[in-house]
């Protein structure tokens, strides 16, 4: 629970981490984020973190992949890790 309430870029989370979206980048992609349901305040799980930082997040049954550059710009708040030694 040490990591709780830390705000970090999405690119650093590990698979299994539960996070809350704090901010998504502005601009053209923002609309796409909202359509896909990744707006501020949503809770998501990091399903996979691929080598190089490509991130796959899951919100309920929906899975979305983000490139590492984008994952750096999405700020999230750690909620809990699936297990601490993960």
């Amino acid at each position: 629970m040490v990591r709780q309430s830390r705000k970090v870029p999405l690119v650093v989370v590990r698979s299994g981490d539960h996070v809350r979206i704090v901010s998504v980048p502005s601009g053209k992609l923002r609309t796409q984020f909202i359509r896909l349901g990744i707006n501020e305040g949503e809770r998501v799980v990091c399903l996979e973190r691929l080598p190089g930082g490509t991130i796959v997040i899951q919100k309920n049954r929906q899975q979305i992949a983000l490139g590492h550059q984008l994952a750096r710009q999405v700020i999230v708040q750690m909620e809990s890790a699936r297990n601490e030694e993960n």
Binding site: L29, R30, T31, Q32, F33, I34, R35, L36, G37, N39, L47, E48, L50, P51, G52, G53, T54, V56, K59, N60, R61, Q62, Q63, I64, A65, L66, G67, H68, Q69, L70
Partner: protein, 638 residues
């Protein structure tokens, strides 16, 4: 359907049934509107990608279907007629606006339709209802099809259909489309299509805009900042997009929370498979396995076994001799004309053999493979897996789609580079396609030639082409200004492809391809035939002699293949088919012909997509790189 009969050309009823007289002004140059039937009710079939829309479409339309490209675009539109309805299948989209050609086409079909059938993946309500709610907000008469109810049950999820119906204000029909469950009810329910519940937040916004635009659907799109719809009405696009979108997203989340109860505990196998497809450790073996299976299907079964049967037995064994004797016995031809018609490069003999007995089976094989990849939901996961790698070439994972499509037809793949986010990516992907990706017909000939040459030539060929591909991408990424757009994609669930959909996609695409390719083959055969008769072919061979025989160390006739390759790539590779080479000469010839200029059709599309300057630059570049790399390989190997 009382209002269906009131229509006449140029007059379009709004949702309220009042005709609009200013339809002509609605044209925008990029995407002209479809001509509408005057008598029948038009139905737009709308939904996110991979929600079973085409299964519903097949059921509704039955046998009477035609396929066309939407005017001014490359977007394929299926149109079917049943009873008193004309139904249009639209491309899968996540929302309606002008982000892409697909969205623009869907937008215009929806705007023109009398009613909308919205197909929703019941296992992905959160994603899909965003589009549904947008259609409700547009005030379209509609019916919602809640598909994949069997999967919902299997995943131990409950959906309260009554309540969903209440929230949306329109009829919701649960279906299992592939088993035809619920589809008859859908057909019977079309007269019950109605407008959904208008949300209060939107009411006042819409009210002011409505007086200026005339239809609620268009008013909403203008408010959401759609530049094209706004331009049609001569007003500036609205600035409320983010507010409306966030409101809509919250509304959808609210609905989902009150409608869906999730009892699920564990991951499904298809979910696991989908995850494995993205992790390098499991994803790379999966990719290699799929590629190997596809190679067995396309490269071995079709390209070797079937083509051997059709090309050699049917084409060269039966068809060509028969045609030749039939033509010769018809009358006494001047020798040059006889050669032109039924000679070595005969317009009638070689062209039909190439087209029907070589190309057709190959193209069918390839499109089957492509449809399987698409319908299984594998491509987006592949895009995720390779995203980081493609970043080095200045591309994101999505570019894997045009690049893979390029193995089918470089021409159509060049068009799909449009789905990439920036001009920079489009240029890089187009260049890679035009240089280093052999198309299916060419690939099949390559596969057949390499299969005869042994393992080492295969390895050399693949490594050289890969090296060129990587160098081009890396170089362009370094040299070009700006940054490429990052990856952001939705991963649809993995599903078993349905036979009927694969068959339909394959037949439609094969037909389009053959229709496009056939004239070029006749032109090509005619040109080569004329060159041969006039002696220009010999002259060209002599002119290229230093390059072909000294630099590339190939027999002089190989120059013929290069002439043919200018017309069509596969045509050029097919020209190599009949020549006698040593295994290493095969590698050199194939490397050169692969890197050599794209076909005329491809060049035309590239000039259109990338502009004359860039297009010509890329085209000229392929000459230089092809002969340079071919020569270097030749001097190392031979």
């Amino acid at each position: 359907m009382g209002q269906a009969t009131e229509k006449n050309s140029g007059m379009r009823p709004t949702a309220e049934g009042k005709p609009l007289a200013h339809v002509e002004k609605h044209f925008h140059p990029g995407v002209p509107r479809l001509e509408r039937e005057t008598e029948k009710t038009t139905v737009a079939l709308v939904g996110n990608p991979n929600v079973g829309k085409s299964v519903v479409f097949n059921y509704l339309s039955g046998l009477y279907v035609d396929v066309s490209n939407y005017p001014g675009t490359t977007v394929e539109i299926n149109r079917g007629v049943f009873e008193n309805y004309v139904v249009y299948d639209t491309p899968g989209v996540y929302g309606i606006s002008s982000f892409s050609d697909e969205e623009s086409v869907t937008r215009d079909i929806v705007l023109d339709a009398d009613l909308v059938i919205d197909v929703v993946d019941a296992t992905h309500l959160e994603r899909d209802l965003f589009l549904t709610q947008q259609l409700v907000d547009m005030g379209k008469k509609m019916i919602v099809v809640l598909n994949f109810m069997d999967e919902v049950k299997r995943q131990k999820v409950e959906i309260n259909v009554e309540r969903l119906q209440h929230f949306l204000g329109v009829k919701v029909i649960p279906t299992i489309a592939v088993r035809k469950v619920g589809l008859d009810e859908l057909k019977q329910s079309l007269p019950d299509a109605r407008e959904g519940t208008q949300r209060e937040e939107l009411h006042s916004l819409l009210h002011t805009m409505l007086s200026r635009v005339g239809s609620q659907a268009e008013a909403l799109l203008v408010l959401e900042g759609d530049p094209y719809v706004a331009a049609r009405h001569g007003i500036s696009p609205g600035t409320h997009q983010e507010r409306i979108y966030i409101d809509r997203r919250n509304r959808v989340n609210y609905i989902v929370n009150h409608v869906v109860v999730d009892h699920a505990t564990s991951m499904q196998l298809s979910g696991l498979l989908g995850r494995w497809a993205m992790k390098p450790l499991t994803g790379v073996p999966m990719l290699l396995t799929s590629l190997y299976l596809l190679y067995l299907l396309v490269g071995k079964f079709v390209a070797q076994d079937i083509v051997d049967l059709t090309e050699n037995q049917l084409g060269k064994g039966i068809w060509e001799p028969w045609l030749r004797s039939a033509i010769v016995s018809l009358m006494s031809w001047p020798p040059w004309l006889e050669a032109l018609l039924v000679g070595e490069f005969g317009v009638l003999t070689m062209t039909t053999t190439y087209l029907l007995f070589l190309l057709l089976p190959l193209v069918i094989g390839f499109y089957v493979a492509l449809a399987l990849l698409e319908d299984s939901g594998y491509l987006p996961r592949l895009a995720t897996l390779v995203d980081r790698l493609l970043n080095f070439l200045g591309l994101n994972g999505r570019a894997v789609i045009p690049l893979i499509l390029g193995f089918g037809c470089v021409t159509s793949a060049t068009i799909t580079t449009r789905l990439l986010g920036s001009e920079r990516e489009k240029t890089i992907a187009t260049t890679i396609l035009q240089f280093a990706i052999p198309c299916s017909a060419q690939l099949a000939v390559i596969a057949a030639l390499l299969a005869g040459a042994g393992f080492a030539p295969l390895v050399v060929y693949v490594s050289v082409i890969l090296a060129v591909l990587i160098s081009i991408g890396t170089l362009l990424n370094r040299l070009m200004k700006g940054e490429s757009a990052p990856l952001l994609i939705d991963l649809p669930p993995m599903r078993l492809p349905r036979f009927r959909n694969v068959a339909r996609k394959t037949s439609v695409r094969t037909y389009q391809f053959m229709k496009e390719a056939t004239p070029w083959f006749f032109v090509g055969a005619l040109v080569v035939g004329m060159l041969q008769i006039t002696g220009l072919l010999d002259a060209w061979q002599r002119a290229l002699m230093p390059v072909t025989t000294r630099w590339l160390q190939l027999p002089p006739e190989a120059a013929t293949a290069f002439v043919m390759g200018i017309v069509r790539r596969d045509f050029g590779a097919a020209g190599l088919y009949s020549m006698m080479f040593s295994p290493m000469q095969i590698v050199v010839a194939l490397v050169t012909i692969t890197l050599f200029v794209p076909c005329v059709a491809s060049l035309m599309v590239m000039l259109k997509e990338r502009g004359v300057k860039q297009g010509v630059l890329i085209w000229a570049g392929t000459w230089i790189v092809a002969f340079a790399v071919g020569g270097i390989v030749s001097h190392i190997l031979i």
